[in-house]
């Protein structure tokens, strides 16, 4: 057996589709089972073929996953939503059991799938530190030893004896993360906890993660943020539909992911109206990112406008469904929300039929990087959300460094959620004076 901290041997996890919805009523199940023999009998009598055994659609959230992670390695786990990242992390954390294969772990495992798991709103900050620490697998003695450090890191010292339900969400997150940061396992499994909180908090978290990685611990880190993955991890594993499709140096895998259709999808279609997102009022049929040539593009030049398009069917008259888009960046920050305010349709019910709505995002407005678009259709008053498709489409905004974008001649990192081109106006107030000084 080689030197490994984590080894996956053909790991697989099968889910039955719809199981989650079906479980709940014992009553339903009893009636169904009770009726079944009579149904079968009636089919037999009438000469129709018997029904096939109750069909259950199964799908593999994870399939044939193999890898070895050496001790001290910091590995990023990336992939689209539903690629199996969280499932893999939950198996390694022993929260769910694999259906096939096995995983071997050497060393004490700590997992952080959420910040503040087990926090109780009625308990004080002090009580929650102990409770949460114990839930994460620390010993009470260990928590007591690190108590001051936790309080320091969180910055909520004055409110230690206040129930956390009275905390602001920022304070709550800081305290929760401060406890989690004290976890000192040999293997740390982390899921996207950095996607929450304000940016200064995120910086603090990333700093802490960086520190953990440098202490020689093994870290597996699930994230949507390629920036965080390339910064923190040496290696990345890319999952797609439950399988490992790339495994190698973080920068290469992240770049491959962003270039491929996996990271971005310019057009989504729902051919079957019955399963399309929506309700009895309206159904979403497609969402797309349209370039100024009218075709779907997963990339957009930062200087050129880009259009978001939504096709939907209105199924009932006398409703006024309003299409809207929620645009997020790869850190999960909402860049903006836009809803159709076209005066032509404002407050006017849409007759039954198919509609195409487009909105243009101007050039020189978005920042570089991946943008993820949620598509939604809602009635505004009274507020009803008919359809809300998260991560419907995504596209890359690229700055070609030609010098005529907002970054100008500057080649470094430009921070900011948006990068609008704004009008600058400069006059030389003392031109004459300085000119005379220079040329007396």
């Amino acid at each position: 057996m080689g030197e490994f901290a984590i080894r996956a041997e053909g790991l697989g996890k099968k889910f039955r589709l719809g199981e989650r919805e079906r479980y709940k009523a014992l009553r339903d199940r009893l009636t169904r089972e009770a009726i079944a023999p009579f149904r079968a009998l009636s089919r037999l009598v009438s000469g129709r073929p018997p029904l096939p055994p109750a069909e259950r659609e199964e799908f593999w959230a994870l399939r044939d996953v193999h890898f070895d992670i050496a001790p001290g390695e910091v590995v990023g786990l990336i992939g689209r939503n539903g690629a199996g990242k969280s499932t893999l992390l939950k198996i390694l954390s022993r929260i769910i059991e694999p259906t096939a294969g096995r995983a071997l772990l050497r060393g004490r495992v700590g997992s952080l799938l959420e910040v503040g798991t087990g926090f109780h709103p009625e308990l004080t900050g002090r009580e929650n530190i102990y409770l949460n620490g114990t839930i994460l697998g620390m010993e009470r003695r260990e928590v007591r030893r690190k108590f001051d450090e936790i309080v320091d890191f969180s910055g909520v010292a004055p409110f230690l004896d206040t129930p956390v339900k009275q905390y602001s969400s920022g304070m709550y997150m800081r305290l929760a993360f401060a406890v989690a940061a004290q976890l000192e396992p040999e293997i740390l499994l982390v899921d996207e906890v950095l996607a929450v909180g304000d940016s200064s908090f995120q910086k603090k978290c990333i700093g802490k993660m960086d520190e953990v990685g440098r202490q020689g611990r093994t870290v597996v880190f699930v994230s949507h943020s390629m920036t965080a993955v390339t910064r923190l991890c040496q290696r990345a594993i890319l999952l797609d539909r439950g399988r490992v499709v790339a495994d190698g140096p973080a920068a290469e895998v992240a770049a491959a992911y962003l270039r491929s259709d996996l990271g971005t999808m310019a057009h989504r279609l729902w051919p079957d109206p019955a399963t399309a997102p929506g309700d009895h009022v309206v159904r979403l049929r497609s969402v797309g990112v349209v370039g100024d040539d009218g075709a779907f593009h997963a990339t957009a030049d930062i200087r050129r406008p880009v259009m978001l398009e939504m096709v939907y069917d209105v199924l009932l008259p006398d409703h006024n469904p309003v299409p809207n888009f929620h645009v997020h960046n790869e850190e999960g920050i909402c860049v903006f929300v836009t809803a159709d305010t076209d005066p032509q349709w404002r407050g006017r019910p849409k007759p039954v039929g198919r509609y195409v709505s487009r909105v243009t995002i101007p050039g020189n407005f978005l920042s570089e990087g991946t943008l993820i678009v949620d598509a939604a259709i809602s009635t505004m008053d009274p507020a009803v959300v008919h359809a809300h498709e998260r991560e419907a489409v995504a596209f890359q905004v690229i700055d070609s460094l030609d010098g005529d974008s907002v970054r100008g001649e500057y080649g470094g990192v430009v921070p900011g959620v948006v990068r609008p081109r704004l009008d600058w106006y400069t006059v030389a107030e003392k031109e004459a004076a300085s000119a005379t000084e220079r040329n007396p």
Partner: protein, 281 residues
Amino acid sequence: MTKEQFLDSKVQVIEPAWGLRLVDPFELWRWRELFVALMLRDMSVRYKQTAIGIAWVVAQPLATVAIFSFLLGKIGNVPTGGLPYPLFAFTAMVPWQMFSRALLEGSISLANNRSLLTKVYFPRILLPAAAVFGGAADFPVTFAILLLMMLWFGFVPGWQIVLMPVLLLLALLTSLGVALWLSALNVLYRDVQIVLPFLVQIWLYLTPVLYPASVIPEQWRALYAMNPMVTVTESFRWAVLGGAVALDPAMLAVSTVTVFVVLLSGVVYFRSIERQMADRI
């Protein structure tokens, strides 16, 4: 950690499990601190929630006893063995209250801790266990009321009161066994939670809390004793107040066997569902 130490450290294997499983005592011991923390959480949350929380603990059994005292006073004599009816009923109400509370809390413990189940690993059995034993937190309050009542009626407990802890333990083990079954079933079928209060109500009527066990005909007694709460309530009355109806060793034996059958089967069933809990809840 040196390389040698590292290679020596135990390898955990995660793979699909098969067959029946009991609990692993070593693993439970490793997680004892979480058990205590969860129990303390349940207790302190209950007492924090408002003053009415504690008042409720007392009001519920008192009201039931008051209503029955009034009704039975009108209807006629209950053979209480010479005890004043309010004291007779309330005494049995004390362990019953603890039992039913523990059973309710234990049975919904998994559903109540969904986020824990889906986000962290620990032996799941800690949740119903902590809820059941945390449910015992009401006992000191109701017992204090009982002592006041005894003072009022002029009763002094005899030597038998040393048996009280055994009876309380029997009650808690009964609720743990049933709660293991019901909490696991409740993960699969959420209607268990709806039927639960009804079940507890029926169980109360099948237990000699508001009436003495002597009203049950002799030939049904053995069957009756299969309900461990029969032994608990009858014997509790005897342990605290003394009186004619002493602890029946045969009944205690039958009840103890029942408790262990329920507990053992509860553990096995719970463990068989445990693997799917995070997927199904």
